[in-house]
Symmetry: C2
């Protein structure tokens, strides 16, 4: 039987193997400098971090180590957000009384128990890889994640835990929102993947499109703007309704550099939960 | 820095990610009941076995455990041969005085040190998954691998080590030949992958075609017949010379169920050696 951390790695691998996921790197689409094999190597590199998370290590430290390992490939940021989402899920899964018996509240409890040290390690993780982020809001310049570990004094002065940091970003970052809202979309994605028919990668691609059509992707809003994120939501809904071709949409989004990263991260989290609950590959 | 067993898993994943490899499952081609994600889950499942091999565990036991883990997916046999080739390579790599400093002779020494218990565990591995094999030669019925662990008395009576078992199959099985010949084609593939230009998956696909054009694939000879294996060699050579389209050849071979599995296994071994010697992804 596969272990909890093995399911985390398998979730990352199945996410990138599912196709078509308009705008994302998948088996059939990639960017010249961000390729399928970068995601594969990134997933393998996360092992030590996920082992720590499952073994009871701190959330921040486990995350930072997973990102350090993920970054040992030449493509840059492959799965920073997915790993961020997975770490508290892995911990909750490892703590479950029986395999698969955990829910969003259990993962939320892991988040609530985070400390200032977890926040510092979260910031340190940004030193390993370039992550697209917005400018910090006014009055929060000392909390700019691009400083990495240099933000430690500000975090300690303000006494901010990782849960606090996420709360401050939840309105503009779909992953922080998951941390704050009890991983609602992640568990909904898991149920949708579990309830589907056919090969797991096909079910996953369908769930990805559903999520993309339901809410603007915050990574697109950060990399481009809110209007582009809203356009993607509308067009994903049209594709879902059969009014647009999914494969043409995928080609156009890659051409325009529109990468719904947050939606992909939530799908990776959903795959992990689905695997823990017994979905077969 | 990735560990030796992580490189073994990454090699399996990069092998199936490389395309086009005419006749094999890859990112763009699969069979209805043997899909890309089965190989991905198979690779993740090998972890415990490779960790044992790197940690000094017996070759046979490490192999049997890797195959047991690999088999926890619904596609059946995905990487039995590749894992068989990788186990002594992983052990030789883990024993190397410095990362990457090992050669075919070191792996051959691992093979020569195998015992009857390794042979028994090798036979047991056949209980986990259906592997296409030929009828045993006359007078060797008691050594038919399809018996699994039931062959133990015969192996013990004859005092056959895993090295002895491989020697008896070397003339008809390309992987057994590697065990006996000091992993010659595996290390040549590693050098060719290391010397190539461009993304590692493209280099790997090119090396696969070179190997396929050089020698008949023994898995095809087993599953079909010697003539089919020879036809594949000729047509791969024609594709390499630009006289046939590689992608059309890939489509035709999948359609005909022609799966050059031994060549894919040697490529996976070559990828592992190349990664250990510093090839970047």
């Amino acid at each position: 039987m596969r272990t909890v951390p093995q399911h985390a790695r398998l979730a990352l691998l199945l996410e990138v193997s599912s196709t078509p996921k308009p705008g994302n790197v998948d088996r059939e689409r990639e960017y010249e400098d961000l390729r399928f094999e970068h995601f594969v190597a990134g997933a393998v590199g996360t092992e030590d971090g996920f082992e720590r998370a499952a073994g009871g290590g701190a959330v921040g430290d486990s995350f930072e180590r997973a990102v350090a390992g993920m970054s040992e490939q030449t493509g840059g940021n492959t799965q920073f957000g997915a790993v961020l989402l997975l770490v508290p899920l892995v911990r909750a899964a490892a703590n479950a009384p029986r395999r698969g018996e955990f829910d969003g509240e259990d993962a939320a409890a892991v988040v609530r128990a985070t400390t200032v040290a977890d926040a510092v390690d979260f910031y340190r993780a940004f030193e390993h890889v370039d992550v697209a982020v917005d400018e910090p809001p006014e009055g929060m310049e000392d909390l700019d994640v691009r400083q990495g570990g240099d933000a430690e004094p500000a975090l300690r002065d303000r006494g901010l835990t990782l849960a606090d940091v996420m709360e401050r970003s939840a309105s503009v970052d779909g992953l922080a929102a998951e941390y704050v809202n009890g991983f609602e979309r992640t568990f909904a994605a898991a149920s949708a993947i579990a309830d589907g028919d056919g090969p797991v990668t096909e079910r996953t691609a369908a769930v990805f499109l559903d999520l993309l059509a339901a809410e603007p992707d915050t990574f697109i809003a950060t990399q481009h703007d809110r209007e582009t994120a809203q356009e993607v939501t509308r067009r994903a809904a049209a594709a879902r309704a059969g009014e647009e071709s999914v494969t043409e949409l995928a080609a156009e989004f890659v051409e325009r550099g529109i990468n719904p990263g947050t939606t992909a991260d939530i799908v990776a989290g959903g795959l992990f939960v689905a695997l823990e609950r017994g979905v077969e590959v």
